[in-house]
Amino acid sequence: MISHLRAPGWYRATFWTLVSLGLSWAILWAANGFDADAVTGIGFAQVALLAFPLFFLGGLGAFDYWFYWASGRPTRPEDHSGHGATSWQDYFRINTDHKVIGIQYVVTSFFFMFVGGLMAMLMRAELAAPGRQFVDPGAFNGLFSVHASVLIFLFIIPVFAGLANYVLPLMIGAPDMAFPRLNAVSFWLLPCAGVIMMLSFFAPGGSFASGWTAYAPLSVTAPPGQICFTIGVQFAGASSIATALNFLVTIITMRAPGMSFFRMPLLVWANFSTSLLVVIATPFVAASQLFVLLDRALGFNFFNAAAGGDVLMYQHVFWFYSHPAVYIMMLPGFGIISEILAVKSRKPVFGYRMMAFSLLAIVVLGFAVWAHHMFVSGMQSWIRVPMMVTTAVIAVPTGIKIFSWLATMWRGVLKLDTPMLFALGFLTMFVLGGISGVMLAMIPFDIYVSDTYFIVAHIHYVLFGGSLFTIFAGVYYWFPKMTGRMYNEKLGKLHFWMTFVFFNITFAPMHLLGLQGMPRRVADYSEQFATWNMIISVASFALGLSSLIFLYNMVASWRGGKRAPANPWNALTLEWQVSSPPPIFNFDHIPTVVGGPYEYGVPGAVHGVFESPATASAEARQPAGAVSSTAKE
């Protein structure tokens, strides 16, 4: 038993978690002048929620190596015992293998997709008819708040990090990420954040219910469940900052020889851009929630207008993160689409350099548009017009990407399998969502539709039709690489068509509801909106069922699908040049990159060569020169 408690693992994690609870209580007890009666349940919850994830991670063994290193004790020799997975249990411990972490990420975040989706189902059941069905208005507010927070912070953002975790090091010819231990910490923070958010359902007064935007001062005065959002976001944010930092260092310092920035696959570019956004923007959401926490827990006055506080400051700080966050939720998807469209059209990506530059342009512009969420907030009115212009201008680099993808398909040989179908679905649906975004950017129109279902329609066209379609595309595309099995193509196509059709029936009418004047975030609405809401609810249930097809396909194919060859799509990028799944250390020798990643249709084109380093460097120059000369013609 004692040895169990000393060795890193679940026993020690449980033990340390308990210790953290005791410690939290003791701290409060001491802070209250050793008066046990003065320790409140809420105070305890606040301290314990902040402390337990760190202790849990420590118990699991996330920090062992660093403790040894910092104290100058000899670190254990690198026997790679924390690397790779041989059984399912290996997925439940601190693992430093980016491939294992990638799968941990993807599976965990899909779990949260079903949790968030289930809440959407409950919401739609309530909204099927006017009046009260089965949840009261308070519970309804809780449902959409948790729905959105879970899907944004625990699904879309981490699932992209997970997919990239798996394929990005392979794509750039690196044996792992730059900081494998930090990578493990990033992942394990995520279930902690998830547990915290779910705990809010058990809080007195119900789950947090002030929307995923948690505007002050409502979030300051809301029942205690609110702190689960406030604190959960801190951990989710810390996780994504650590991952982003890891990606940036990996991309900058660990590319294979010959892989210049302009030979990187666009997925790598996309994650590079996203990571810049994360590192710069995410601290703002952490701070915004810290302010709320200080106001709530210690009686600070950031948002107390009577004491000189500023309520609108919350929105500025929040959106300075959360607008970039919508691109954090889209740019990695752009990367996935570039990979898939090139391979499935058998053509090089059209205008590769502009594709990379437009990503950077979106990053830069993305920091200058936050106040378009605040056109009706009562902020200084002069800010609105500059923000409208920058917002509109973002459509230009995005348009460049859309048109380049169209040109990539033009005259190609299109293979219409499941990943490609989702990519095409993305292309059309995202444009629709983007266009409604540009309409929203026009202040007079936004003044009318802001806070209506028109916004809800926009949200889902960009996040579901945009991000989620790219996620589905990416998961199908790399499924053979990640599992060594092929997915079932028939079920995949069925999934696509059901999703595509019911997605549109669910969310398109929301535009109309918004124009008719139905406000968002309401559990009850007037009679005139009843018909459309019923249609939407029925369609949304079918949309929910379609995700069960996906679930079945993934589980069944992973267990019993056809064995996947190393390169089923006949792709050039490096991850397809190794076995499926890749060997434990990715490569026996680091490959040498000798050409662009998408030279489809170029005779004799190769992206990387796999010889031992000595011979490769001598011979590499030959084909590289040959490729670039053909490329020019």
């Binding site: 100058g72 660990m254 601290p283 703002f284 200080l294 400051m313």
Partner: protein, 202 residues
């Protein structure tokens, strides 16, 4: 253990595609995100000091910030950057005594800074300026407190380095353990200059 490390089949060494050391780059990026955390706090500060209707800043109810004490404290913190630099140069030249004395001085100067600041908090609280009394108090304590927390973290790192240097660790070839916390400490110092200028002087 020995045997394992001889026979183990590890990953191929990654290609170094940049001259920048990964740990250094990581630290730099971490500092960028730290700067943004401070950025958010400064945003709060400027909103409450400048933007909000009827905004005003210290003196509040006749209580002003102790600029004099804070200036001296600034000097103390800045000089700790110098002693740290001295310690780092010493170890590069193999001068272990220089490292030890330098680290000890740095640690003590840092601790003094924190002590003076806590004292300042106590004085202000006694005069009725608290985070709870007004929004101005809130951002003052939040901003300087955020910095103070960074000093505390930095001091912990310095304490580890100091202890290890007294145990004879680090060599002219192997002193990342001094360099990386050092970058953090310099950052904490520079950040203070910004905080001090905006909060006390402007």
């Amino acid at each position: 253990m020995e045997a394992a490390s001889v026979h183990h089949h590890g990953p191929p060494a990654a290609n170094r595609s940049s001259r920048v050391h990964p740990a250094l780059l990581g630290m730099l990026l971490f500092i960028i995100s730290e700067v943004m955390v401070f950025g958010a706090f400064f945003t709060a500060y400027f909103f409450i000091r400048v933007v909000v209707e009827n905004a005003h800043w210290f003196p509040i109810d006749g209580v002003d910030l102790p600029v004099g004490v804070a200036s001296v404290n600034t000097a103390i913190l800045l000089s700790s950057s110098l002693t740290l630099h001295w310690a780092q140069t010493s170890i590069k030249n193999g001068n272990h005594t220089g490292l030890k004395v330098g680290m000890l001085l740095t640690f003590l100067l840092g601790a003094t800074f924190l002590f003076v600041q806590v004292n300042e908090y106590i004085v202000l609280t006694g005069e009725g300026i608290t985070p709870q009394s007004s929004a101005q108090g809130s951002v003052f304590f939040a901003l300087t407190g955020l910095h103070g927390a960074h000093v505390a973290v930095g001091l912990t790192l310095l304490a580890i380095v100091t202890l290890r240097s007294f145990r004879g660790h680090y060599t002219p070839e192997e002193h990342d353990g001094v360099e990386v916390p050092g970058i953090y400490w310099h950052f904490v110092d520079i950040m203070w200059v910004v905080v001090f200028t905006t909060v006390y002087i402007l």
